[in-house]
């Protein structure tokens, strides 16, 4: 734990700089590239709104904002997880030449994706204004929800980064798992109203991402507080997963180079 704190402090600047330069590198080729950070989720949202809102006649108030909130959080989770599975291998040139705690790679990658998520959230605020949806102090509750989501994501990423080193076809499996999760997370439908009672409760308490997304929607659209007990439980689980992930990485990271 102590070691984690001192390492994070030591490598914080590097992680930040690495994240910044990653973003910069994305923009470097053309000055319009950053527009894709906005366009991609926006267009995806339109696709979902068209397919599910128009073709399937899904009835949900402010359906576009409803989808967009979910996409912002889901994309962040999805990208972080996918990247972390191969992160050690992709950074072979660094890993085989200097020592750095391997989760530093994960954190800087998360910074990049979180930055993009914040852009999406800004768009959400813009949409709230355009759609004339009133907000109140409940909006502040998105901060702990997002922090909670990030913690859980970090933990998962650490463990998957570790497994990804030793298991070659991990990314194939993860893609399927993520797709399955995507449909169970209620990106384009409301779990609470679309799924019959006992199952929806189970889903919302057992799938943390679904819970986080549902809570975010409640805060922003319905002016409702999240279920703090469930939040607390998932916070503790997130903490546990992260601690276990960091511990595993510390324990095995020195053998990674031998495998890749």
């Amino acid at each position: 734990m102590k070691r984690f704190a001192s390492d994070v402090k030591k490598y914080w600047n590097y992680m930040l700089y690495e994240a910044k330069s990653q973003l910069k590198a994305e923009v470097a080729n053309s000055y319009l590239n950053w527009i894709w950070w906005i366009l991609e989720p926006l267009l995806l949202m339109m696709v979902y709104a068209f397919v599910f809102g128009f073709l399937f006649k899904h009835k949900e108030e402010n359906y576009n904002v409803f989808i967009f909130i979910a996409l912002a959080l889901w994309d962040n989770f999805n990208r972080c997880i996918k990247a972390s599975v191969t992160i050690v291998k992709r950074n072979k040139s660094i890993v085989s030449k200097v020592y750095l705690p391997k989760y530093a790679l994960i954190i800087s990658n998360m910074m990049v994706n979180t930055f993009k998520m914040f852009i999406c959230l800004l768009i959400v605020f813009g949409m709230l204004i355009v759609n004339r949806i009133s907000i109140d102090w409940h909006i502040l509750e998105i901060v702990p929800i997002i922090a909670n989501a990030l913690l859980f994501t970090f933990g998962c990423c650490c463990i998957l980064a570790h497994m990804g080193v030793f298991i070659e076809d991990m990314s194939n499996v993860i893609n399927i798992v993520l797709r399955f999760m995507f449909y169970l997370t209620g990106i384009f439908y409301n779990i609470g109203t679309s799924i019959p009672k006992p199952y929806s409760t189970i889903l919302l308490s057992c799938n943390p991402i679904a819970l986080f997304i549902d809570s975010l929607r409640n805060c922003m659209l319905e002016k409702m507080s999240p279920n703090w007990i469930l939040m607390l439980i998932w916070f503790v689980i997130g903490l546990g997963v992260s601690a276990y992930g960091v511990y595993t990485i510390y324990r095995y990271e020195n053998t990674y180079v031998k495998v890749i």
């Binding site: 030591k10 600047n13 590097y14 700089y17 690495e18 330069s21 910069k24 590198a25 470097a28 080729n29 040139s93 660094i94 890993v95 085989s96 030449k97 200097v98 020592y99 750095l100 080193v165 030793f166 298991i167 070659e168 076809d169 991990m170 499996v173 020195n254 053998t255 990674y256 180079v257 031998k258 495998v259 890749i260």
Partner: protein, 242 residues
């Protein structure tokens, strides 16, 4: 001079069971994977004093680079201990973490921080690095536009100017055109012969080692064959290799 800066005790490094695993492969095959045990370094012990220059020789695959990487903490020893007595250490590696899209200046920053330096420390050496690299105004151009010579000049300058207490060198480096080659070799020599710096060099160039090193460690199939004054050992090694 008698202060010890590296202590290596009974170090053994294995490449074995850590073979990567594939779900598909294991579903399709019923036989368990045979794990092969390969000891790259066996029971190696030695100490290096502060300011000393130790050369490491041996034929290909005798575990030289493995030993060096273990010293740099890139991977750990399976058995035994490596104690650096609190010194900072770096494996002289060229262009760590370079990103092609970024400018030379940004890459210096990134690479420097990756080598464990603070932002301020890198900044304070920035001008020196840029001057040494002779890149001039190209420093603010993206690295992908560099010629390969310019690239290695920059990479060399980063590692050469940012110094650590212990330096590990895998093959003596000299890069660039004739002029820069001489300059980098001279810089290298200056770095190596600094009395405060402990250096471990792996090289196949026996002449260089003979000139630079105080002592030489001869590895053969992962074991220490001999360690001692450079002239003596190198002479024996030459005979052995004939």
């Amino acid at each position: 001079m008698s202060e010890v800066s590296i202590t290596v005790q009974d170090v053994t490094i294995r490449y074995k069971s850590v073979k990567s695993y594939s779900i598909k492969r294991n579903l399709l095959r019923l036989k368990p994977v045979e794990s092969k045990n390969f000891e790259a370094v066996k029971n190696v012990s030695f100490t290096v004093n502060k300011g000393e220059i130790l050369g490491v020789i041996g034929k290909n695959g005798s575990g030289k680079s493995t030993l060096l990487r273990a010293l740099a903490n890139i991977f750990s020893a399976d058995e035994g201990n490596i104690d650096l007595h609190g010194n900072s250490i770096s494996l002289l590696a060229i262009g760590v973490g370079f990103k092609n899209q970024l400018t030379g200046r940004e890459n210096i920053m990134l690479s420097g921080m990756l080598l464990g330096f603070r932002e301020k420390e890198v900044l304070s050496h920035m001008d020196e690095i840029i001057e040494f690299s002779e890149l001039g105004e190209f420093i603010d151009q993206p690295v992908r536009t560099y010629s390969s010579g310019m690239y290695s000049k920059l990479a060399f300058s980063v590692t050469a100017i940012l110094e650590t207490d212990i330096m590990l060198i895998d093959e003596v480096l000299s890069v660039g055109d004739e002029h820069f080659k001489k300059k980098s070799y001279a810089k290298m020599k200056e770095l190596i012969t600094n009395n405060d710096r402990t250096v471990v060099i792996v090289s196949h160039s026996l002449d260089t080692l003979e000139k630079l090193c105080n002592r030489v460690l001869w590895l053969n199939d992962g074991e220490i064959k001999e360690i001692g004054p450079s002239k003596e050992i190198i002479k024996k090694y030459r005979e052995f290799m004939k």
